[in-house]
Symmetry: D2
Subunit: 284 residues, 4 copies
């Protein structure tokens, strides 16, 4: 990490806070829960997710509109139409939205609709994309690569920051390993290390790490207990009908239960949770 | 896991409890903390550890007397003399002891002194040793192999149980991965999976997983938050002077702080911690 | 691999041949050796490499002008100036050139100078880049990701082919593993599998796999013996002065020796090597 | 490797030769092929293997009689009866035999029947077994652990040597990785490194590495091309009926073809193959 200039902590108390909206920020005392489906499928789907999870409460919405799929023949995302759905729901429920940007050509378009731009695992070392995101003017959610070392992860954030964007949130989402029982191995040691090494907020994606919904609630509590600043969790009104990642999405009920279970865990390690905000916005 | 007959849960509430002493058991409502050095070095060392950590409080002592070392020229453990130290300290402080058994020929000797026999990672699939431990008459702490799948780990426990010993505790201690920043990668997804699949108690060794002492407290809290039944943590009166694993041992002070921080985390997930027991035994 | 339509063999004899120039093609009976430095540093450097290795003989030149570096502060490549050097040397020595394209915006520029476009490991699942390369009109050298499965690798090629470009060569270059003795682990089992599953040519990069120059010659011979259609090997006039990957570059002498040692190995498995071609072009 | 005293090369020409019989030795100019089934099942099976492969020719027989199986309920090997079959066939066909020893208690018994004792991957760091094998008086075939580093592998050999047995042959058999397409990943970089670091013979087990029979011949040729001193290959008269590892056993015909294909590869790298020896012994 000898080359890192902007990412490392200047002193043990050095902690950056990245704002998603006027009310919601990652890296402060409150942990932040981002929920929503793998992919934006329809207005009804997103409407249901937002309405139901607003009171869980979650603090931000996720939903992919450009999807990195192993197969070129798999659903590649709803694109612009998906962005419009995201933005409409976001506004109505006062929930900032995070969505993935896969190419430089998408940055401008997505920035017009989303509050935070996600760099997926497969693009963690897409250095030209990172450089361009340095100029994006939106906070970046940088997911760790499938087999990226902690140093490579930190240096990917350094690419974004050194090109002008200080608002980077790191996301541990599991690494490749030899056991196929779980989809990936959630590396909470990396979360602890990143919190100690860098001043950037660090959140955890237990959904892609586990790949099995029955493991997600326990892993989420573990993530908060070890110091993560938040979670990004896949949740779907009808998980088994999800167009992608159906095995790992939580139902609305399971997601709500999970969110509520986090309050005592957060408090046990000196953190807080956001309360239900502006419930009147949820009335349609 | 199709071949597992004895290890798997019969129903969701099926949970075994393994007793270490009259007062201390693993798998019940209370989490169990096992502390102590990598290797038994001297009576003074063990005396200090036991006396100081008894009031943390920890519930059991660890300390290796037969050590699996990569090099044949490295310190191989204090042997019988170490066992006598362990037993003497154990009695005086009313702390059950766990120590590693590396060979069938050591089972009888170690069983005369220790309350629980540990199978190290390198021996997780030493099947003849597992079979012999099925007859040992002592509870077994079975550590996961360096690159063992969850299925292989479960089936190793099945070896012990099918040869007659129902008292097996599983221990996740990190798996091999590509990043050398941490010694291993702590796989809490496996802990959650094992708690769901098997009725055996599952504990976590954050020390060997992290290999760096500054990561251990946060990982310990994560382990408890995701449902582990306890922890086994390396602690040494003078960590930097430890004959082995010096980078990962906690000082007495750090260990005490860690133990105290676990109470609210355990309670946040519906568990309890043991209180300080029989403090009069600690007065020498 | 159920989704693959264009990449898989239609029958055991199905084998594609990808031409780099009028004389040189990958996938035919002759194995193809591509040599050159990690990065284009100067005209003198490339001139020396081309002149000396033309008679080894190698069949194509490699040299990066846009470099994917872990640190944003490391040398990022000579860019356009490097491309001009490549093209000038290529013409003079009648050696087709391969160079990496890191972004969609570079495709047109690089295509004007290079004979084959390389997709680096970090971009193997940069799907927008793959789609754009489907329209590039140049053969593509697709390197396997650091932790890509065989299926993901095959499907990345399917992205390029399904977007219009049938000329794809696969390159195994080592995968991430737990042992830091070698930089990566060369996975020749994947090479054998890819040759059996797909009709695409498959070459091997032993330099990035080993990361240590003393291992490269033996691994190169192994690659040819198991059926690889060629090699891409880092070679530098003064390896220890290389601006990047200095530990793994072969000297001109070592490279020449290696190339010569491949002839009997290729013949032992029913392949041929290219002879020295048009030596008069090498006279300047 | 700083602790290694006996295993490392004293100079580049330092090479140990381990004899299996009066005629057959590993580490000399001739490569050695060891063939046979995963497990000894019957006299007829072993008789067929020996008779048919004697003229391939292979130089030694393999066959497990004590089997390390993931499940305690799986076939654990034919035991003493299997040893008697091995010895009878060995004598009749003048083929030295290699078989696995899983426990100290088996050493004496197996030594009475076998010419070489194999330490399986799961026991590579069963240090008490290694120490005991230092006194065994038979050559040892030490297989690399599933996730053992090169240093750990070398130091395991050092355990055997430092306890009195200089006759150790190392065997690379694939390491654990993230892709389930192959059973393990054959690490030929380790073979090259081991040949450069140590004076011990190094052989390769492509069967366990690949786990798929269609990959084995090509990987075998690769192993010889990179300098391995021999191969140990699973072969069975009726592969699909094998009691274990049925997917990876070669038929007698495939094995014979493989052996014959190795001669030109060995010669291409300056090695030789053994000719058919004492064919009269094969007449029964």
């Amino acid at each position: 990490m000898k080359d890192a200039k902007l990412v490392l902590k200047a002193n043990p108390d050095h902690q950056s806070i990245v704002s998603l909206s006027k009310e919601i920020a990652i890296g402060g005392q409150e942990i932040v829960i981002i929920g929503g489906p793998c992919a934006v499928e329809s207005l009804t789907q997103m409407e249901t997710v937002a309405r139901e999870l607003k009171s869980a409460p979650i603090q931000a919405l996720r939903g992919g509109v450009y999807k990195p799929r192993t197969s070129p023949y798999a659903f590649q995302g709803a694109g612009l139409e998906g962005l419009e759905i995201l933005a409409s729901v976001s506004k109505r429920y006062d929930l900032p939205v995070v969505t993935e940007v896969m190419a430089i050509s998408q940055i401008k378009e997505i920035s017009a609709y989303a509050d935070m731009l996600q760099v997926g695992s497969r693009n963690m070392q897409n250095f030209d994309l990172l450089k361009a995101l340095g100029q994006a003017g939106k906070p970046i959610l940088l997911k760790r690569g499938l087999a990226a070392t902690i140093e490579e992860f930190v240096m990917a954030a350094e690419y974004i920051m050194s090109h002008g964007n200080p608002n980077v949130v790191l996301c541990e989402r599991g690494i490749r390993s030899f056991d196929s029982y779980t989809r990936n191995v959630l590396d909470l040691g990396a979360v602890v290390a990143l919190k100690q090494l860098t001043h950037l907020p660090v959140i955890v994606d237990p959904s892609h790490a586990a790949g099995r919904r029955e493991l997600i609630a326990d892993l989420s509590r573990a993530a908060i207990a070890c110091g993560a600043d938040g979670l990004i969790v896949e949740s779907h009104p009808e998980p088994e009908k999800s167009v992608s990642d159906a095995q790992q999405a939580l139902s609305i009920e399971a997601m709500t239960q999970l969110v509520r279970s986090l309050k005592p865990v957060a408090e046990a390690v000196g953190r807080k949770t956001y309360g239900v905000q502006c419930p009147q916005f949820a009335i349609v």
